[in-house]
């Protein structure tokens, strides 16, 4: 942080001249990239529609209010389905993620050359395909319905939980494992008494966190036919029944806030 001497006074500046120039260059390049990208997007945009969107939005809001409150009672079953998709999906996902995480953690993997890259590949491909795309594929295989949603959410959760879990396994305290080893424990005993207690807190918080995310994801897998409230939403948007759509949106917000509240409670109770 240089102090610059002027003729008769000193000023303080945060960066010296070189750093200033570097910063300026970064900003310049950033702005350049941004405007270039935005230019490409805007060339594909019909600006008339965009400038007209506030009218469209007002129109839509007008159609959405007042919400058709009676409709809520038909939504109870879809909401229940959505909850189940999220919960069962998370359970399946975490159960499959556990062995994968052990295979891909540096310190527990049985073979670094073969199994570890394979397990990592499973984790990455599960992470990079969104649950909606999984659902799209699964609806074709097992047919539309809750089951496709459960499997889609489960498959998507594997990567997320697996990645966070194997990072947790890699960070465990080796001394404790050595202590267990010193008692003459075999591999399985080391696992249950040395590793599992250390990663259990991470495991619970990861699965709760994923459950919270999955509630949101479960609301949209229905858009491609995989069960839950999304099916209802898709149908009502198709019917242009906006007064019902607003009820569904409200229900989603309530469900999400509720799940967030529960996860916060559980996390407080555990930690």
């Amino acid at each position: 942080m240089p102090i610059i001497k002027q003729k008769d006074y000193k000023t303080w500046k945060k960066f010296d001249r070189k750093r200033d120039l570097q910063n300026w260059l970064c900003w310049f390049l950033g702005t350049l990239i941004f405007s270039f990208c935005f230019g490409l997007i805007s060339s594909k945009t019909i600006w008339f529609y965009v400038f007209d969107s506030h009218n469209e939005a007002l129109d839509l809001l007008g159609r959405m209010f007042p919400p058709e409150t009676n409709y809520f009672f038909t939504l109870i079953k879809p909401i229940w389905d959505t909850l189940n998709i999220a919960t069962i999906g998370t359970t399946i996902g975490t159960l499959i993620a556990i062995p994968l995480a052990f295979l891909s953690a540096n310190n527990t993997t049985p073979s670094k050359k073969f199994l570890r890259p394979l397990a990592l590949f499973c984790i990455v491909s599960s992470r990079s395909i969104n649950s909606v795309i999984w659902a799209l594929l699964l609806v074709a295989v097992v047919g539309p319905g809750v089951l496709a949603g459960i499997i889609a959410i489960g498959l998507r959760s594997i990567g997320f939980c697996g990645k966070l879990l194997y990072e947790a396994i890699e960070e465990i305290d080796e001394n404790q494992i050595e202590a267990i080893e010193a008692t003459g424990a075999n591999k399985a005993q080391i696992m249950t008494f040395g590793i599992v207690p250390q990663i259990l807190p991470a495991f619970t918080s990861i699965s709760i966190y994923r459950w919270d995310i999955n509630i949101r994801e479960a609301t949209v897998v229905g858009l491609v036919g995989a069960g839950g409230i999304g099916i209802e939403l898709d149908a009502q948007i198709g019917d242009l029944a906006w007064a019902k759509v607003s009820v569904i949106l409200l229900a989603i917000v309530v469900a999400v806030v509720f799940s967030e509240w529960i996860t916060a409670k559980i996390r407080k109770a555990i930690i």
Binding site: K14, G30, I33, F34, C37, F38, L40, I41, S42, K44, T45, I46, Y49, V50, S53, E56, A57, L60, K77, W80, D81, N84, T87, I88, V124, S125, R127, S128, I129, N130, V132, I133, L136, L137, A140, V141, V142, G143, G145, V146, L147, F193, R216, E217, T219, V220, L223, V224, L233, I237, L249, I252, V253, V256, V257, E260
Partner: protein, 265 residues
């Protein structure tokens, strides 16, 4: 010496026995009720297995060549969308995250900002995209708006948590020099949250790219549109190629972003 064998048992996870049994009961009734209320059409699944097999075999071999122009165009569109949306989203998130930090904002602003965050977090990107496509027409602009808005919920939430954790004495030192509010935020708060800020931006860039693959399905432009078109034309080989391209780009982006994050730390 006594001959009595001492057996060590591991402590149960939940100490209270009543709670333990209660939890097991609750979980089993829940599972039972799920099982009873979900209609699973086993007939359809049995039928679906050979169909699924055909479906999966239809993906092979992945065909990168026939529609290579469209795949490339889709990927680049996704990239532009991701970059612009991340930048716009972060720019909006900065004031929101300042507002959502308890130690900076007054009560009223705090609740307002938290409300914005909750609202942005409750709706999935795909859901938002449906509405923005309806409002603004098909194409990458609607996708960009969607991604920017959903960036707010993620970015502002995590950044505001970091702002709440700042070292108070540093911020106070700046304040005691008689700084204005903006100077205080710029010199007292911003340097402390900067590492996290950069990490989060890279992470969000990664997420936004992944999400851009799905919002295309509902008309938001990008590689998702290419994927959707491929599905609609029953060109599963092309769809497989698109999926492989998405996976590999996500892998590259993830690898570089985690590498960069480590460098910054």
């Amino acid at each position: 010496m006594n001959d009595k064998k001492v057996i060590w048992k591991r402590k149960p996870l939940i100490k209270n026995r009543l709670l333990r049994i209660g939890l097991i009961l609750i979980i089993s009734t829940y599972l039972l009720s799920v099982f009873l209320t979900t209609e699973i059409d086993w007939q359809r699944i049995l039928e679906g297995i050979p169909r699924g097999k055909n479906f999966i075999f239809a993906f092979f071999p992945p065909d990168f060549i026939t529609r290579s122009d469209e795949i490339l165009a889709g990927i680049f569109e996704s990239l532009w969308m991701t970059i612009v949306a991340t930048i716009v989203g972060i720019l909006i998130s900065i004031p929101v995250s300042l507002g959502a930090a308890k130690n900076i904002a007054p009560k009223f602003v705090y609740f307002l900002s938290r409300g914005v965050i909750t609202l942005s977090r409750s709706f999935q990107e795909v859901l938002l995209a449906i509405f923005f496509v309806k409002l603004m027409g098909f194409g990458p602009f609607a996708g960009m708006v969607t991604l920017s808005l959903s960036t707010i919920g993620f970015f502002a939430k995590l950044l505001s948590e970091d702002i709440e954790d700042i070292n108070k004495s540093q911020a106070e030192a700046i304040k005691s020099t008689g700084s204005s509010w903006f100077q205080w935020v710029n010199y007292g708060v911003q340097p402390q949250v900067m590492p996290r800020f950069i990490g989060l931006s890279l992470y969000r860039l990664d997420i936004n790219f992944r999400e851009s693959a799905v919002i295309g399905i509902v008309g938001g432009g990008g590689i998702g549109s290419t994927l959707n078109t491929a599905f609609d034309r029953y060109e599963f080989e092309t769809a497989a190629a698109v999926l492989i391209v998405i996976i590999s780009i996500v892998m590259i982006v993830e690898y570089t972003s985690s590498h960069l994050r480590k460098l910054i730390k």
